[in-house]
Symmetry: C2
Subunit: 224 residues, 2 copies
DNA sequence: GTCTATATTTTGATAGAC
DNA sequence: GTCTATCAAAATATAGAC
C-alpha cells in the first residue's frame, strides 16, 4: 500500500490523452497559436485537469519537445549501433529520419517551428538530444573518412542537407494541399520514397567525391 | 491640387516603418506570437496609426508575405532570363536563394513558419509567387535534360533539396546561438559560403547522374 | 483525480478629438 | 494623418467543492 487507496482511480490515461492532444495542437498552431482550452477539449478534459497534471503551458510544451527529440535521437543512435559499412549507416540514418517523420507527423512541424522561434522554448535537455543526432552522424562520417569512402565534410552541413529536405517535404503536405485548392489544379506530389531516394543519392554522391571532379571546374562562380 | 492641402504632411515613411517593424516581429514570433502593440512600439507609432494604414493584423501580415515571396520570385526569374548553360543557371539559382536569405533575414523564418502553419495565412497571390519559383527551376531542369546535361528529376524534389538546407541554415542561427549558451561550448558554425558550395555540389552531382552509378548498387535498401 | 466558476491579464480593434 | 482613451473578447491560470 504505497499510497493510492480512495480518491478516484488512477485515471485511464488522462495524462496521455492530454499529451497527445497537446502534441497535435502545438504542432498545428505553434506555442502561441495553441490554446489551452482547445487542448483540453481535444483531450476531453477541462482546463483544471490539465493544470493539475502540468505546471503550465510552457512545461507541457517542453515535455512534448523533449519526448519527440529524444525518440528521434534514440532511433538514430540505434542505426549506428546496428553497425555496417559507413555507406550503409549513412543511408540508414537518412531513412530513419524519414521514418520518424512518418511515425510522428508532428515532429517535422515542431522542428521547423523551434528553428523559426530561435529555440525560445527549448532547454538544455532538448539541445542535448539535438546534439546526439549530430554526434551520431559525425561518427558515421568520421568512419567513412577513415576507410576512404567519404571525402571530408562538415557534419552539420551534411546533416541539414539530409534533414532539411525531409522535414520540408513532410511538413509541407498541408500547405501543398491548401495551395492546390487556392490555385487548382493541385500539382501531383512526389512520394516520400522518391524524396528519400533523391536525398540518399545526393549525399552519397557528394561524399563519394565524384561530385564534379571532371566537369564544372569552377563551382560557386556565378556570383552575378 | 489633387487632394492633400492641409491635414498634416504625407508622413515621412510611417507606413514603411510599420512594415519594417511588422516584418521583424512576425519573423521572430510568428503570426500569433507577434503582438500589435509591439509592432506599433517598434515602428514608433501607436496602434490607431497602424490600423489606419492596414485593415487588421492579418492584412498586414499578408502584405509582408506577398512582398517577401514576390521579391524572391523576381530574383530567381532574373537568373533564368540572364541565360547561360543549364548548369550555370542551376548554380545561380542556388546562390540567388542564398543571397536573398541574407538580404532579407526575415525571409527564411517566415518560409519555415508558413510551412509549419500549413499556409493558414497565405492567399492565392502568395501561392502564385511560390509557383513562379518552382516554374523557373522546372524550366532550367527541362533545358538541362534536353541538352543531356541533367538526368530526369522531379523539380519539386530538386527544389526542396536546394532551398530547405539553405533556409534551415539561415534561420537556425539564433537557435544555434542559444544552444551554445545552454550547453557550452558553442560548436563553430560553418559559413554560408560553405553551405552554398555543398548544396551546389550535391545538386550538380545527382543531376549529372554520376551519383552512384558504379558503387552502392542497391540504394534505399537499409529498410531495417 | 476531476469538475464548475471565476479572477486577472493580455490583446485586437475602434471612437472621436485635433 | 496622428494621438488618447477605452471597449470587448480572448486566454492563462487558480479557488474550492466533490
Amino acid at each position: 500500500m504505497v499510497s493510492r487507496r480512495k480518491a478516484s482511480p488512477p485515471a485511464p490515461g488522462t495524462r496521455d490523452r492530454i499529451l497527445t492532444a497537446a502534441m497535435e495542437e502545438f504542432a498545428a498552431r505553434g506555442f502561441d497559436g495553441a490554446k489551452v482550452d482547445r487542448i483540453a477539449q481535444r483531450a476531453r478534459v477541462n482546463k483544471a485537469m490539465l493544470y493539475y497534471h502540468f505546471h503550465n503551458k510552457a512545461a507541457l510544451f517542453l515535455e512534448i519537445l523533449r519526448g519527440q527529440f529524444g525518440a528521434v535521437a534514440d532511433a538514430v543512435a540505434s542505426v549506428r549501433s546496428a553497425g555496417g559499412s559507413p555507406e550503409h549507416q549513412l543511408l540508414s540514418f537518412t531513412e530513419t529520419i524519414a521514418r520518424q517523420a512518418l511515425a510522428r507527423p508532428q515532429f517535422p512541424h515542431m522542428w521547423l517551428r523551434e528553428i523559426a522561434d530561435g529555440g525560445r522554448h527549448v532547454d538544455a535537455s532538448v539541445i542535448g538530444e539535438f546534439r546526439r543526432v549530430l554526434a551520431t552522424l559525425g561518427a558515421i562520417l568520421a568512419d567513412g573518412q577513415r576507410t576512404g569512402d567519404f571525402v571530408k565534410a562538415d557534419p552539420f552541413i551534411v546533416q541539414i542537407s539530409i534533414v532539411a529536405p525531409l522535414m520540408f517535404f513532410a511538413a509541407s503536405a498541408p500547405l501543398r494541399e491548401r495551395a492546390g485548392k487556392l490555385i487548382p489544379p493541385k500539382p501531383p506530389s512526389p512520394s516520400l520514397e522518391d524524396v528519400i531516394q533523391h536525398v540518399q543519392a545526393s549525399v552519397l554522391s557528394v561524399l563519394s567525391g565524384n561530385a564534379t571532379t571532371s566537369r564544372a571546374p569552377k563551382l560557386r562562380r556565378p556570383s552575378r
